[in-house]
Symmetry: C2
Subunit: 456 residues, 2 copies
């Protein structure tokens, strides 16, 4: 799971490098899958990078000059040579990335629609000069639903660097459809009999069905499970901390104190906010702490479902539970400075680290991927982890993300990113943010759009 599922990063001693190669015609969501996989694997602590052969091709030549869709014609010898070179180049980079141990998983994002190309990849993975042979897994995206293909072309491809600003949307679309046809002529789908020795998953019609063959090892098993849980239906995820607690007011860490007066006021306003949002079938997930349950109580009847997950509890501060930062520094000065040095990996004595938290929250992420609209009411550290996943933040930044009290963070996942909106409520609350001592800027979210901060 899993963990290995639960201790990805620190304890894997014998980890085989994995190559995950996409297979499929253009506009089948290969880059979407590749983006989501990278984000997920990196977040759980498996260092992963995507190698997009299209990018190599764009660097190598100007496909417009090369004849647009004709560039992808199998009989265009010059183009075939260039495309082969680009694939080889990407493969070599991938090999260096894995051999150097900089990464553990490389995602090879290309069409890989012919058997010879896949054979070339397999031979590359088995080459004797690698430190360890690479384990190869294919993800084929098969789609015969014209609506899905059409929406993919319209949404993504006409905005591709190949077309953007170079021709009209309609021209781009026509050229792209021709490109698909060129590929279709040579396409050999993965096949249970002919490719019996390979390991692969076929994702059929954007996840309506799956064919899984010969899954081998932990990474492949995780990838399969992840692919089966993601979906593209529109929805939003809402994150908020509990209302201000009595402990927040006096600056103490952890504990299980009730809401302050301001905190209760936030719970009321939160209810009003969700009354307006008027979401069908809203699910509320809470931690098991009193301050969270109290906050959730005000919204109970708006939800189809309220669940109390222990895994959503705040980071366990171990021997520092109940202390203020000042107490902590005074009593354990060495620990205190250790924490500042590497906050992500620092584990409170008898408590947890952010890394531990990520492992504990993995099930929440997987379930969030599966669900539609969910409100998560939890804590500063746990929400930082969840936010880092959706906003693709590095682990160094994760423990410094600013998640203020009395604020709703609304996430709306898009194909290649996640739109983030912050709604700060006008109710007083203490500021529990503690910046990295050396840092200037406390945080910055990637998001897709500017981070809207409004008061509802």
């Amino acid at each position: 799971m899993f963990t290995r599922v639960h201790q990805y990063s620190t304890n894997e001693q014998v980890r085989v490098p994995n190559v995950i190669a996409l297979v499929g015609l253009p506009a089948r969501g290969k880059t979407y899958i590749s983006y989501k996989l990278c984000r997920y694997l990196n977040w759980i602590g498996i260092k992963t990078r995507a190698f997009n052969v299209g990018e190599y091709r764009r660097q190598a030549c100007d496909f417009e000059k090369e004849g647009k869709a004709d560039f992808f014609d199998h009989s265009n010898e010059r183009a075939v040579r260039i495309r082969d070179e680009c694939a080889k180049h990407a493969m070599e980079d991938m090999g260096r990335y894995l051999d150097s141990k900089k990464g553990e998983v490389a995602v090879f994002d290309a069409t890989n629609t012919t058997r010879p190309r896949r054979k070339m990849l397999l031979d590359f993975c088995n080459r004797e000069d690698h430190e360890t042979k690479f384990r190869l897994f294919f993800i084929e995206s098969v789609c015969d639903d014209p609506d899905i293909i059409d929406s993919n072309i319209t949404e993504v491809k006409v905005n591709s660097p190949d077309y953007k600003g170079r021709m009209t949307e309609e021209q781009a679309k026509q050229d792209f459809l021709q490109r698909i046809e060129k590929y279709s002529a040579q396409y050999a789908p993965l096949c249970e009999e002919k490719d019996a020795e390979l390991s692969f998953i076929k994702v059929i019609n954007a996840g309506r069905s799956f064919f899984v063959h010969n899954v081998n090892g932990h990474v492949q098993s995780r990838v399969v499970y992840f692919l089966m849980n993601i979906h593209l239906l529109p929805r939003s995820i809402y994150l908020t901390r509990h209302g201000e607690s009595e402990y927040n007011k006096i600056g103490r860490l952890g504990g299980d104190s009730p809401l302050s007066e301001n905190g209760v006021c936030y719970a009321h306003k939160l209810r009003k906010y969700f009354e307006k949002e008027n979401i069908q079938d809203l699910r509320i997930w809470c931690s098991q702490k009193i301050r969270v349950a109290q906050t959730a109580n005000h919204l109970k009847d708006l939800a189809a479902h309220v669940e109390y997950w222990k895994v959503l509890d705040e980071i366990d501060a171990g021997i520092c539970e109940g202390l203020t930062y000042e107490d902590f520094e005074a009593r354990y000065p060495k620990q205190f400075s250790e924490r500042d040095k590497d906050k992500y990996h620092y584990r409170y004595p008898s408590g947890e680290s952010y890394e531990d938290l990520v492992a504990r929250l993995e099930p929440v992420i997987m379930e969030l991927e599966r669900q539609s609209n969910v409100l998560v009411i939890s804590h500063q550290a746990t929400i930082r982890c969840i936010l880092a996943y959706f906003d693709n933040k590095k682990r160094e930044e994760l423990p410094y993300l600013n998640v203020p009290l009395h604020t709703v963070i609304k996430l709306t996942p898009k194909a290649y990113s996640c739109q983030i909106e912050m709604f700060k409520f006008k109710i007083d609350a203490v500021d529990t943010y503690r910046a990295k001592p050396t840092e200037e800027l406390p945080w910055e979210l990637n998001g897709t759009e500017s981070n809207l901060c409004r008061s509802p």
Copy 2:
């Protein structure tokens, strides 16, 4: 997942009843899948029961008198009627089980090889007179590998109540092969196009491939992931607690104390034991507590792999950490008696319950299912949970399973059970077992064979 994955039992407020129906010719491992699923779902807190139509048939008539394999001939009208009646009877029982909320998942273990039979099931699940409609999921086991079929017939079927003691093994086998043929004549496998609206998984050749279609909801998603992780290859799982610790000696709960002198002695002997066992590719999984790491240190070089999982840490006794049972009773008498009343659900203030532990250990179970030979070095409460899974123990019994110090528990999974062997080492250790006050018998393992207790 996951809980939902992590809070199965306590928080599911809107849970749809699920029917999981097997599909497949005889000797395709349907009952094996059904057994494993029931064990797994019950262990994670989803109440599940299997309804085996074969058992109803055996109660309804003597198939030997009815003509053995001919009983399964489609043209045998009397037999068809009896078989239909049995299926309906099982369905009605299943309906009562789910409607009464006694159970959440019913596994319908029958061949279900024809479309009309599956239609009948679907209609049954959608019947208006149920409290809630049942969600239906099919698991089809498809196998064309003659070796797998043959071994299944030989191992399981000739020992079936239909044959045992009634004829020779060879006669039984021949009759059974005829029975398969009778079924084959009518068999309509599930099909992506014709059954597009159904939700199903096809397990192909005992897990070499899978076809997954239209998975719907949490339970189905868990089931799919579980099926993809189980395997039938021979292997053993070894469980042991750390050697005796300093805290064990003085009867204190939890903490993070080092090994006692006896404990160190155990670590040495443990090494000798595994030197003799001489296991290829042994994996060692440890908790992150000092006493466990110290124990594992002596075996490190015998293993292909050592991992330290936080989820394997001992139950968190919260405010009772570091207390003895006497302290606990004296300081918190009410809590102490609460715990005795319902030890499985009792949660230490600011700590964990056994129920919490099961949720935390689910990833370990899933990964143990995937792996070959593993040694788990962990703690009394965590090992109780793992043992309860493999030995199919009820949650009331789980917290009272006797897991003494200085003992290796060797589990060898079989098709319908798990062989359990206990190796008690001759090294002194305190007894940390505390029986249920009212109970006479401390424990009893199901196992397959008598529980061998030997000293190696």
